[in-house]
Symmetry: C2
Subunit: 393 residues, 2 copies
């Protein structure tokens, strides 16, 4: 059932092999000073940096560089970015990279005009406050070089605090936090290492299942989610066979955006518990986000499956094409998770947290970092959290 | 394959049984004079008019009434609306109704500030020009009372010229033409006569199939389309059994919006030929839009099926659950269209143009009004147009 909700997603997506040609025109809509956010410098090796700099020059912008955004952006880096934005009176933050860069850019965008006495970590990622209506939020734009997070078309941002061992996401209930535009060229993902590509693919799948596995209603959102999952499975198999398959890469990029741009959550409650578990692993290991999810997902889903067996049975049939004939709902549901496992192994997902550096003695600490959420089929007890982590080792 | 495209849809959708409560706040973002557009007055009988007037009063607006928008809005009515907008220096056009009211409101919005020497019909619906960048487009908002057209979240508008027997749609390539907001309360559709409800349901299905039946690529858009169709079929069966089934009505309303808000057309070529055929019937009979589509759709699809047999076979399996076992592609494709026919008869679609008042002697004239489009599996010849209309009688 679709209850009460508001859908409002004004991000302009410019998609395809020619997308970069539109960048300078997009930039002209903003003021003169651009904070250019990127990561470790791979964009300098693959030529994307030069293309972006040319577009910035064409549009007559003054560029303030803000490089070195790490895969799980930290609160220390966030404070650095805020200082840069304040000092230079930045008019636009342009993130060139994947979800980490865009998440970070949003963090800077909402924090730069806070009173200096307010700590952005406390305000946004601990207290989950919203930016005040009269607080100026700096516009964010993006050039996407890695798919998975959907950050290019949503209002979420994940920041990590190593001091408190917390990796926390905030979905801002403020339309100003959505990127104003995103340049999506699937070819930009060709040079991504296979490990990152696969991590991104599982991240996308998990974004969809996080929203899909809740409720018992017949809901259009779930049908859309099934369509996205079927497209993703087909495209990921093709991309693993040939990483330069444009059709596959373009479909994966498009699935990623729609997997997490609020659409398939409309009218649904969600708990995002796999992300809570994976983010706790990430806070203790700094492992690649998508692989923390793949390492914990199956033990988690097998544990909660009995509480939502009908939906897991539907998942088996509608996503994986498992025939219901001669199977009980439980058998069908289990067969669906088995089919997902086969696909995960086939594309090369990390299947255990041990591979990510987790050891038995770390489990209690990781459990301490795990947020327990309501809204899914079954909120975990502390013992169940430990059980999932132990089964994931 | 997803080629080059831009997706930008900034309409804010406020959905659910409480959606009207947000209207006055939305209205506050616009200037003081509101042109209130509605149809034959059913909103006065079901109480929606009073709710809208209260929200307008709460927001302190001056209301200029513009009632009597007909089911297929005419160019004469459009000229009337333009005169009202000019005379009153309107700040917002609020359409309360279905697609006809919203299409009409968009027509007024783009035309009101044209030089008086420019005829909007010629400019927008004959020459397919775009509003100049420096031409002010009046903002449009809507309160939806009938589902089907998707006009609440797109930039299209269909206007009919009885003098030239042309019913023509223009999809404006201008983001300013999208409604700024839409209030979607599924309960508002409870009082709709069954004929109108069924016409709306088939209109939605046809919006999806028009975009689905093209190309041979594996494309995320087609997977999303399949999800929407499966949701629509399930929900429409429930709504026909019980018109006050909120879950069914809410899913139908949501499917309608996403069936035609540009998303599932991304990266695709489309011909919209069923709409061209149906709109020609509409121009000669003034019949209900959705029923003109249902009357011509099957003869058309059965004629073009051999040119896109693989997609029609996929449609049979992925939308209608037809087993491919023991069937050739042609047999599977045919079985899919048969399954659609069974569903159409079950929900009560009009299955022939004869029921809409078309007679054999009108066929040549209707064919003269039919635009032949490229982009699908097979552009019709004149003889084939006549063949489809004869088979539809």
């Amino acid at each position: 059932m679709l209850g009460n909700f508001t859908y409002h997603n004004p991000t302009k997506l410019i998609f395809g092999t020619d997308a970069m040609a539109a960048l300078s025109d997009e930039l002209r809509a903003y003021g003169p000073v651009v904070q250019l956010v990127y990561g470790g410098g791979s964009i300098k090796r693959n030529g994307i940096y030069d293309q972006v700099m040319r577009a910035l020059a064409d549009a007559g912008k003054t560029v303030v560089e803000d490089a070195g955004v790490m895969p799980n952006p930290t609160v220390e880096k966030l404070r650095e970015g805020v200082a840069i934005a304040r000092e230079n009176h930045v008019d636009l933050i342009l993130a060139v990279g994947g979800g980490s860069c865009i998440d970070y850019a949003k963090g800077v965008a909402v924090s730069a005009n806070l009173p200096e006495s307010v700590d952005p970590w406390q305000k946004y990622w601990v207290d989950f406050d919203e930016p005040a209506a009269d607080l100026e939020v700096i516009p964010v734009g993006s050039v996407l070089t890695m798919v998975g997070t959907g950050s290019e078309m949503n209002c979420g941002s994940v920041i990590t605090n190593h001091e408190t061992k917390m990796k926390v996401g905030h979905v801002f209930a403020d339309v100003r936090v959505f990127p104003r535009f995103a340049v999506l060229n699937p070819e930009f993902t060709y040079t991504l290492p296979r490990y990152q590509m696969v991590a991104g693919i599982f991240d996308i799948m998990n974004h969809i299942t996080e929203q899909y596995f809740s409720g018992t209603d017949d809901n259009t959102s779930d049908y859309l989610a099934e369509g996205l999952m079927r497209s993703l499975v087909a495209a990921s198999r093709a991309a693993v066979r040939d990483p330069r398959d444009y059709e596959a890469r373009s479909n994966i990029m498009w699935c990623a955006t729609w997997a997490l741009n609020t659409l398939i959550a409309m009218g649904k409650s969600t708990d995002w518990e796999v992300h809570m578990l994976g983010q706790a692993v990430g806070a203790h290991t700094d492992a690649t986000h998508g692989m923390t999810l793949s390492a914990v997902a199956l033990p988690y889903y097998r544990l909660v499956m009995p509480y939502g067996v009908e939906k897991f049975a539907r998942f088996a049939t509608n996503v994986w094409g498992v025939s219901p004939e001669g199977k009980s709902a439980e058998e069908l549901a289990a067969a669906g998770l088995d089919a997902m496992e086969t696909w995960m192994r086939e594309i090369g997902c990390v299947m255990s947290t041990g591979e990510l550096g987790v050891t038995e003695d770390m489990l209690e600490g990781i459990a301490d970092s795990t947020l327990i959420m309501q809204g899914g089929y079954h909120p975990l007890s502390r013992d169940e959290v430990i059980e999932v982590f132990r089964a994931s080792l």
